[in-house]
Amino acid sequence: MLSFSDFNYAVRLLIKSPFFAVITMLVLAGGLAVSMYVYSVLNTMLYKPLPIGDAQQVVRVQGKEKNRNRSLDAFELAQMQQHAQTLDEFGLYVNGASIIFDQGATRSVKTTYASWNIFQFSRTKPLLGRGFVQGDGRPGAEKVAVLSHRVWQATFAGDPAIIGSVVRIDNIPTRIVGVMPKYYTFPISAEMWIPLNDIELNPIGYADAPMSAFARVKHDTTIREVNTELTSILKLTQLQFQVSKEDEDIIDAAFVSSFQLAQTGNEGEIVFLLLNVVSIFILLLVCINVGNLILARTNERVNELAIRLALGAPRGKLILQMMLESIIICLVGGGFALMLCGWMLGLTDAFFNNAFEGDLPFWWSWGIDLDTVQSTVIFVFFAMFLVSFLPTLSATNLNINTVLKDGSRGSQGKFTGKVSRALVIVQIVLISVIVLLGSIMAIVAGRVANVDFGMDTTNLLHTEIALDETTYTDEDKQLMFFQQLLSRLRVNPEFESAMLLQELGAVKFGTDDVAYESEDSYPKANLVILSESEQLVGMDLLNGRSFDSRDNKDGLKTAMISQYLADTHFGGSEALGKRIKLVEDETDDEYTIVGILSDVKRGDLFVESALTHAAIYLPFAQSVMPSAGVLVKYRGIEQRAREELINSVNSVDSFMVPSRIRNYDEMLAKLTMMATTMTDLFIRCGIFSVLIAMTGVYGLTSNTIVQKTQEIGLRRALGADDLDIIKHFVKQGAVQLSIGFFIAALLVAPILIAATSLIGISPLLSILVGLGIILTISSLVTVAIYIPARKAVLCEPSESLRYE
């Protein structure tokens, strides 16, 4: 067994070669840190248990329609709550926004309307006051709310006396009963909680109220069992209420997932898997390089090892002694990596919290935690194995006779040559895969960063107005409010233009001159409700007219369509005057096209599809609704415009304030920032790995060329000139590149196919990316081969022939 003196000896050897020791430790620390960082960032986002008590069993209940996640109706969830045997502590919630009125000031806060048990469910006691109790949702009960720590500090200056006081929330006197601890924002990023009432929680039929649910999976129950049960309850409910549901999009299944996966959507796990593959590949590259450095060192010591073996040292002990050096390098490198990773996680946490203050899911908090430490231990052991593998194999193959007779030129040289050639191929495979994934991310990042929304977003402010339906009881009152608001905004010198705009999602439509075989064959477009407006905000009228006073409740049913829709379905400007019909429209009305608007990107902003620019606009006056988005283009200073927007709303209804006012550019910037930042981060990791791979290929090739110094001398003695020698090694490199690319192609083919279909990267672009990668890696590898080969031919052949 190894003793302390062996450890001492290994340390002494490392101290004797400080450059080697520092380089190997730093390279290893870099690779480990990148892998740990990527793992830790993604683990926190997707897999780490929520920072609440008993988090392992916590799930979110959702519906699925043709593989797209959908919210379930409150009624469906209520049925599941009542009948599901596989879930415990079931509760409903829906996220929204509320306006808090406090001494003349108003503040829009993100509010979670939830079952009374939400705080018990999340095992979190209020910092001040109380949480909800069962009676809080009973009809006639006093309205209550619980504040987040953030709102308590920002709106009420952290005044403890707020507990028990009554504040107007959404114009309703509401008693503040509690304040939650700092950082608690369950279920995602709530700033205030209001209990759902019993009617909302237990509707007697479909309530047209999409909601989510939280629950705990019972012990000894699998997720599959839960999903099966929930889906059967859903199907049964749909069957019983078939009549009222016949015109709705049917949700195919109900399922549970963690809050984290629900937040990132279906692609979250794929991204997690791909990025972790990348990070493991980076670690592999680093380990190969460090292993190669240690192998070169082992070869230097091969005579010493042979002498020790000849003197009777047990081979096993010698191998362990050599491994000890690798182990020390890995342990110290791991320590550095942990510090580096912690530093990078801290930066990430600070960056995201600054950039997305209050908008981040509460579990997105990065730093060194138990998971990171555990992953460090695993990664370090992984690295130890990989780093020690080659030197150990080399030592195991050591032939004492050959070595003592020929020095290191015998079997060790050949072994190293074979290993080096194989490792160059491995590096080419790894780096091809990493660069491909990095390229796909770069394409996505490029799309996100340069996404053309098709709108002039300069000086645009947006807010949501939700009318209280107890005051604005019918469509006429609701229409009057919005018309008055638009009039006030339009006469206000701060604003250049104003309009209402409400997106209602995708709808199927038909045209009057095409017969469709089945419901599935109808084309789809985004349905948008737009107010009358002489001057459109952010969009351009290309043909016909925009909505005006003629498009009222009693007038001809009219519509505008996007240019894309006009071009694809109506032959461009010929669309004017034609009629369209919405498939799921209860009224059976036909809409006459009166105008064509410029294309604006809608739906999933980062994926191009047939739906992206297809839009049907209906006049607000013919489709009145109690809530709508208000879009204004301001002239002067943004702050004044914000104030005037609130004043204008107040001037129509003194109890009404707009929800959070957002600057459109800012909104879009935030939308793209997360994607671009994360992608940027991973592209940097990709560049790091390319550097590592290239230095690795250089190191391995140098090693091979050094081993072949005599052969080079011989070839030159036989008449090869410098170019012949360089060509010989480049040709060898070309063979390695071909094998590497072939293996990489087998590995990345599924990724490319997935990228083509999932992210919408065209096959041509995929091929171009592939060719670009082949060209780039080939060039880099050729340079990495050329430099040591060039160096090798510079010395005289006689010198090369004498080299040992």
Partner: protein, 251 residues
């Protein structure tokens, strides 16, 4: 002895600089070797014989002096030109055979020809076959060096040296790693090459091998110490005609 010189060295010097100390490996060598001569170079370790062979083979450049090979001054050739001269005019045989272990015997022998731009594959194959026949190793053409004995490997090295029909064969201790039987075979091979018209120059420690050369040059401390031409009178008697019995600097 041929009247025409193949090699002319005029005041050739070679110095090595190690840690600011200059060591003169060759110190003003003047040497003429005629076409078709069989010359041995001998002397104690460190006397400069291998350095001299390297300079003769254009494996190394002299620090000073002039080298005329086949009537052409090769002292100041570019690297590529030197490579071309090595390829076409010189064949090397090394003590440690220096066969490339990854290549077959035929590929090893073909190696010098692969660097000639004017030869196609069938020509190369024909030359290789002929060279292997001359050393009686044609039956091992598809084997690898590791499958051959030391003597066989050296015969392959000789085949490689003669495959391109160079006028000059340089051999550095060609029998140094061989037993007496194999040493005899290789020495005979070199003699046969000489009889066929090649100029052969061997470096050797072995007095017996040196004696079999027509001309024996002995070096000491980087200078030619003696240069003796041996004339074979009968099978057992050699009459030596001294060309030069020089002390250092006497040339």
């Amino acid at each position: 002895m041929s009247s025409e010189n193949l090699i002319q060295l005029i005041n050739v010097e070679k110095s090595f600089l190690t840690e600011d100390v200059e060591t003169k490996a060759l110190n003003g060598i003047n040497l003429n070797i005629g076409k078709g001569e069989y010359v041995s170079l001998s002397g104690p370790s460190g006397c400069g014989k291998s350095t001299l062979l390297s300079v003769l083979g254009l494996l190394d450049t002299q620090t000073a002096g002039q080298y005329i090979l086949g009537g052409h001054d090769v002292s100041d050739l570019s690297r590529a030109e030197r490579a071309a001269v090595r390829n076409k005019q010189i064949g090397f045989v090394f003590q440690s055979f220096n066969l490339i272990s990854d290549l077959t015997i035929a590929e090893n022998v073909a190696l010098p020809l692969t660097y000639r731009k004017d030869m196609n594959k069938s020509q190369i194959s024909e030359y290789v076959q002929h060279a292997l026949e001359r050393v009686e190793m044609q039956h091992r053409s598809k084997h690898y060096p590791s499958q051959l004995s030391g003597g066989q490997q050296q015969r392959i090295a000789v085949a490689r040296a003669i495959v391109g029909s160079p006028p000059l064969i340089l051999a550095d201790e060609p029998t140094g790693n061989l037993d007496s039987k194999n040493a005899e075979i290789v020495t005979s091979l070199l003699e046969r090459l000489h009889q066929d018209g090649a100029t052969v120059c061997i470096v050797t420690h072995n007095p017996e091998a040196a004696k079999r050369a027509q001309r024996q040059i002995s070096l000491f401390d980087g200078v030619i110490h003696s240069d003796v031409r041996g004339v074979v009178v009968d099978d057992d008697t050699v009459i030596k005609a001294p060309i030069m019995a020089a002390s250092v600097g006497s040339v």
